[in-house]
Amino acid sequence: MNTRKYLLPAAVAGVLAISLSACGGGGGGGTSTGGGDASLDGRGPITYVQGKDNSNVIRPTIDKWNAAHPDQKVTLKEQSDQADQQHEDLVQHFQAKSTEYDVVSVDVVWSAEFAAKGYLQPLKDKMALDTAALLPATVKAATYNSTLYAAPVSSDGGILYYRKDLVPTPPKTWDEMMGMCSVAKSNNIGCYAGQFQKYEGLTVNAAEAINTFGGKIVDDSGKATVNSAEAKTGLGKLAEAFKNGNIPAEAITFQEEQGRQAFEDGKLLFLRNWPYVYNLAKTDGSSKVKDTFGIAPLPGQSGPGASSLGGHSAAISAFSKNKATALDFLKFLTDPEQQKFFATQGSLAPVLSSLYTDPALVAKLPYLPVLLTSIQNAVPRPVTPFYPAVTKAIEDNSYAAIKGEKSVDQALTDMQAALQAAGAK
C-alpha cells in the first residue's frame, strides 16, 4: 500500500516535535587556553557580562571605573535573570570563541566547568591576583586544578534563624538543636526546616549535612569520596530528623520561599536559609516573628556547621583581547570600596573578611558577623567540571534517603556510583 501518504504528515509532526529539542547546538570541548601573549598586555575597551542587575549595583560601579579610565571603558552586557539562561549564553559565546565578552560573571558552581573547557584565562604568573585579603572558601570555589580561574566578587552562606522567644540561646551543635525540638512540640509548631525539595537547594542542604560531620563528596583531586562513615553520619542525621518528625513532613516540598513563609508565620522553631530572609522577616507586613527571631551560625558537630557557599566570581574570557585591562577591572571589583558599595546597595555579602566587622556595614546588615562565621566554615559545593551531573547524583539519592525510600547506606553507595559515572573518579 501507499504508506508514503501517511508517512509525510507523520514525519512533519515528528519533526516539529524534535526541532524544539534540537536547538542545543554545537559540540563541547577544546583545550586551547586562549590567545597568545599579546592579549595579556592588551589594553582598551572591554565588555563585562552578568545577569540582570536588579538592585542597580553594577551600573554605578562601571560608571565610576569609566570616569577614571576614559581610554579603557567598560561596557555592561546584561543577561536574563535566569541562571540557566545566563549559563547557556556564556557557553554559546565561549564555544564561538567570541572576543565580544571580556569579563564574565560566573556562579561559583560553574567555574570548574568553564576552566576545564579552556574558556577562562588562568589567573597566574603575569595575570596573578592577590588573594590574601579574600575569604579562603571563596578562593577555593574559584580554583580548579590548583589554579585560580576567577576573582570572587560576592559570597553567600547559610545561617540559622531561630525563635529567641522560645529558645533563649541558639544551639551550637546539631544534636543540641534536635534536643530543643521538645520546645517546638510543646508549642505545636515544626522544629527545623531547610530546603529539601529535589532541586539545587537540596544539594546545598545535603552537602552541608555531609560536610558538617566531616564527610567529603568529592576530594581535592576530583575523586568521589562520599561513601564514608562521616558522610553516613551527616546524611543519617537529616534522614533521622525526617523520620522522627523533628523536620516536619511538609518540608520535603520546601524551597527557600516556602520555608521562609512557614518561619514568618511562626510555624517553625529553626530555619536554615540565606541572609536575604533577614530583612524580609524583619519588615514583611505578614511576618509574625519580626521581633522574636534571632540568627546564629549553622549548628555543627561540635562547633559551627559547614555551610555551602553561594555567590559569584568574575573571570576573564580566554578569548579576550584586552586582558590587562580585564585584570585591572577584576582587582577593581574586589577593592574594599566597591565591595562596600555592593553590600550596602545590593545586600551582596563581601568577599573581604575585613568588611564583616565594619561598623557602618554591620549597622546596615546586622547579620554580617554571623554570616562571617558561616562563610569562614563554609565548604564549597563540589568543584568539578561535571557539576550538573554531580548535583543530580547528590539530589536524587539524598532525596530518596530523607524520604525513607532508601537506606542511608544504599543512598550513599548509589551516590558514589552515580558520581563516578558522572566522571568524578
Binding site: A13, A22, G27, G30, Y199, A249, E250, K392, A400
Partner: protein
Amino acid sequence: MSTEVPARSEATATPTAPHRMPGRESADRKQVTQGRWASMLLLPTLVLLAVVIVYPVINAVTMSFQKDAGLNPVTGFFEQGGFAGIDNYVHWLGQQCNGQACPPGTLGSEFWSAMGTTFFFTIVTVILETVLGFWMAIIMARTFRGRSAIRAAVLVPWSIPTAVTAKLFFFMFAFEGIINKLLGTQILWTGSEWPARWAIIISDVWKTTPFMALLILAGLQLIPDEVYEAAKVDGASAWQRFTQITLPLVKPALMVAILFRTLDVLRMYDLPAIMTGGANNTTTLSILVVDQIREGFNSAGAVSTITFLTVFLVAFIFVRFLGANAVGAATSSGKK
C-alpha cells in the same frame, strides 16, 4: 491500488496524456506554467522550512553519533570525544554507563521510566480531555443565552502560557496552598509519586480541555440539523442519536483533535518541570533531553532523536489509522 487516488494538484507531475488534442494542450501548458509559478512562489517557504526544521534535525542526528567531550585526567581539560558509533543509543536504550548499568542518580538510569511516565501522562490526559472536551463541546453547541460569552470564557485557560499555569498550580498545590485548605487535607502534592502525577494531570486537563472542546465543537457544527430531525422522526432515542449520528460524523474532527493533543503531550515539559522538577517519577522525555543538554550535547542529541522517533511512530500510527477512516468515509466503496 495507488493509481486510484483521486487526482489533485499533482497533475503537473504527469503532464503527458496519450492523446493530445489542440484545445487540451493549451490547457496543459497553462497548468504547467501555473505549476512552475506555484513552486517558485513556494520556494522561499521551503527554504525557510529546510533551515529551521530540516537542518536542526539532521544536526541533532549527526551529533548523536559523536562522543561527548571527555576530561583528560592529566591536563584537567576537556577533549573532543570523536566518533561514537551507536554508543550514545546503547547508553540510553540499555541504560548503560561506562559498560555497567547506570546507577540511580544519573540521567541514564531514568530513560525507560521517563518513557513510561510520558506515555502514562499521554494516555490519561488525552482520555480525560477527550471526554470532558466532548461534553463541553456539546454544551457549547446548544443555543442558549450567553453562549458566546461561555465560548470565550472557556478559552481563558488555553490562552494562559503553560509556564504561568504551572506556576499557578504549583502554588495551589503547595502544602499551605488553597487546594489543601479547601479539601481540608494535608496532602504533600508535590512530595510523593501519585499525588504529584495527579497534580500534573489536573493542571494539564484544566489547561487543554478547552482546546479539545473547540476542535470538537467545530466538528459538531458541521453536522446538519436535518439528520437529527430525520432520526427523531424515525423514533431514535437521544443515546441512539449520539452513538449513531453524532459520533460517526464528528469522528474525523475528533481524530484530528486527539492526534494534536497526543503529539503535544508526548513532548510535555513545562508542567512537570515547574511543578515537581521531575521528582517522584514525573520526569518526561523532554525533561530528560533538557537536563542532558546541560551535561553533554551529543548524548542529548541521541535522546532527542529517540524522542523524535517515538513521536514519529505514534504520529504514523495515528495518521495511518485516521487516514484509512477519512478515505473510507469519503469514497465509502471499493477500497478496504
